[in-house]
């Protein structure tokens, strides 16, 4: 099997990936903020010996046993929250399988953050898998729950279902045709959070956005996912319309996208920021069948491996910014040749 993030999924010309997160706390323990070291350790020990964890082939990795680069690379893969990797690492851990599509974070903000990832638009199956794991763990651990509010989380923002569903979308054509703000406003009005993934100062880079539900209480799990699915479908449709409009100026578009491809593949050093910007054009070119020199799987691979910490892990050495830019250019050439 391949790591989930190198694969290509449904509607992957627009939806890069799907993530389902379920936050839970174990009944009878205080939340993380008030958790004693001995109790935090007890939670790790219990999960390490759990049959459920063993059945899903999840391995425990303690944050305190990892080097900083590894922790940072997990943040770049959206598995860990950057807020928690620089403070107290004691008794924090992740449980992860080989494909890395299941990743449970322990003692971060809540006792358990069950995360399921998938390439492309895969909301239903991801929710089903996450819920299946949650239900099995609930039997073993018994999660904090009351009849009024449902599942209790340390922050009221996740209260109730504890469920956060999100999709990451690539919207270059909506952006090039100046229609992006309209779409994003509409999404916001429908009660969803939108976050741009890359920004430098106040400039948005890479045309990549994360859309997730705001509401976790007063709504059923399946409606959270259903609403997000409806919005994602609409966005996919609109982005494709915008791409059709762009392709009417075939020569202009091909020229623009191939120029980016040229810079990306011929440079001797590539900064992180350039990479993000150029990759948006290259991805669009590949998804529209214009750029044929590289496959979408290679685009995904480049996207992950070029991120600062993952790049250093790939080459197996600590690199400063200058060397990273050189190695990034090397990586691009290497993967295209593969």
């Amino acid at each position: 099997m391949m790591n989930w993030y190198f694969q290509s999924g449904k509607e992957s010309d627009v939806v890069l990936d799907t993530k389902i997160t379920i936050s839970r706390n174990i009944d009878g323990f205080p939340f993380v903020l008030k958790l004693k070291d001995r109790q935090a350790k007890e939670i790790l020990d219990t999960l390490e010996q759990s049959d459920v964890i063993a059945n899903y082939n999840l391995k425990m990795l303690r944050l305190s046993d990892m080097d900083e680069l590894t922790r940072q690379s997990l943040v770049e893969k959206y598995m860990l929250n950057s807020k928690y990797i620089n403070t107290d690492l004691q008794n924090k851990a992740i449980l992860m399988n080989e494909d890395e599509n299941i990743c449970i974070v322990l003692n971060e903000k809540d006792h358990l953050k069950i995360q399921v990832f998938a390439s492309g638009l895969e909301l239903e199956s991801s929710l089903n898998l996450a819920m299946e794991i949650e239900e099995k763990l609930d039997k073993e651990l018994k999660f904090a729950y009351n009849n009024k509010y449902g599942y209790l989380t340390s922050s009221p923002t996740n209260l109730g279902t504890g469920l956060r569903a999100s999709v990451i979308v690539h919207l270059p054509a909506l952006s090039k045709t100046q229609n992006l703000s309209k779409i994003l406003e509409a999404v916001n009005d429908l009660g969803m959070n939108i976050k741009n993934i890359y920004r430098e100062g106040n400039r948005v880079k890479g045309n990549i956005y994360q859309i997730s539900n705001k509401q976790t209480l007063g709504i059923r799990e399946k409606d959270i996912v259903k609403n997000l699915k409806a919005i994602a479908d609409k966005i996919v449709e609109q982005e494709r319309v915008a791409r059709k409009i762009l392709s009417k100026n075939q020569v202009e578009l091909e020229d623009e996208l191939y120029r980016s491809y040229g810079v990306l593949t011929n440079s001797r050093k590539v900064t992180n920021e350039e990479m993000i910007q150029l990759m948006s054009d290259v991805r669009l070119g590949v998804d529209m069948g214009i750029i044929k020199e590289i496959t979408d799987l290679k685009v995904n691979k480049l996207d992950i491996l070029s991120r600062s910490a993952n790049l250093q892990k790939y080459f197996g050495e600590n690199l400063d910014v200058f060397d990273r830019n050189i190695k990034r250019a090397e990586l691009i050439k290497k993967i295209i040749k593969e």
Binding site: D138, N146, S154, G218
Partner: protein, 185 residues
């Protein structure tokens, strides 16, 4: 909305300033925002600090309440983990399950603000959602549930003064209720 300074570009920056109690909202495009110095001392990438958000929201709410009420909540403290109200305002997080009982009255308005609704509709503890078939295509809405949804929609419609829609929903509700009455007879 267009930038209130140059009037040419789309405004994507909103800044609220309160001077001598007068609230003023400025909507600018990012270029003007930088030119006018609004961006110099703040990062655009500022993550929303939820703890402050809670604090601001609840403090504002408190100011509307009789002081006796606020005095009483300030003294509230969770007997199980020791979290008090101030601590919650600073961290935005509770210390244990029991906190939700202790601070229940206080967080209702916050929950309504965050989620729009405070009634739990998710799966029951121990129930299995995965067995409940999350297949989105084949979902059926039960009549009983539908009534509740309609009633909620009615309230929403009245709130936003969409009376046309409200009338439509009202008729739908009537139809279902009459049908139910008929069934009982």
């Amino acid at each position: 909305m267009m930038c209130s300074n140059c009037g040419k570009k789309e405004a994507n920056f909103m800044y609220t300033e309160i001077i001598n109690g007068v609230k003023k909202e400025v909507r600018l495009c990012s270029d003007c925002a930088r030119k006018l110095g609004y961006l110099d001392n703040m990062s655009f990438n500022m993550p929303l600090d939820f703890s402050n958000f809670f604090g601001d929201f609840l403090n504002e709410y408190d100011s509307l309440m009789p002081s006796l009420f606020t005095e009483r909540t300030k003294a509230l403290k969770c007997s199980s983990c020791g979290t008090d109200y101030d601590e919650f305002l600073t961290t935005g997080q509770f210390g244990c399950s029991n906190c939700y009982d202790v601070f229940q009255d206080r967080i209702e308005p916050l929950l309504r603000q965050l989620h729009g609704d405070t009634k739990y509709l998710g799966k029951k503890s121990g129930n299995r959602l995965s067995k409940m078939n999350v297949n989105l295509e084949k979902e059926e809405v039960k009549e009983d549930n539908k009534l509740n949804i309609l009633k909620r929609n009615l309230k929403e419609a009245i709130k936003v003064e969409n009376y046309e829609e409200a009338a439509k929903i009202r008729d739908e509700i009537k139809a279902i209720e009459e049908k139910e009455k008929g069934d009982k007879k």
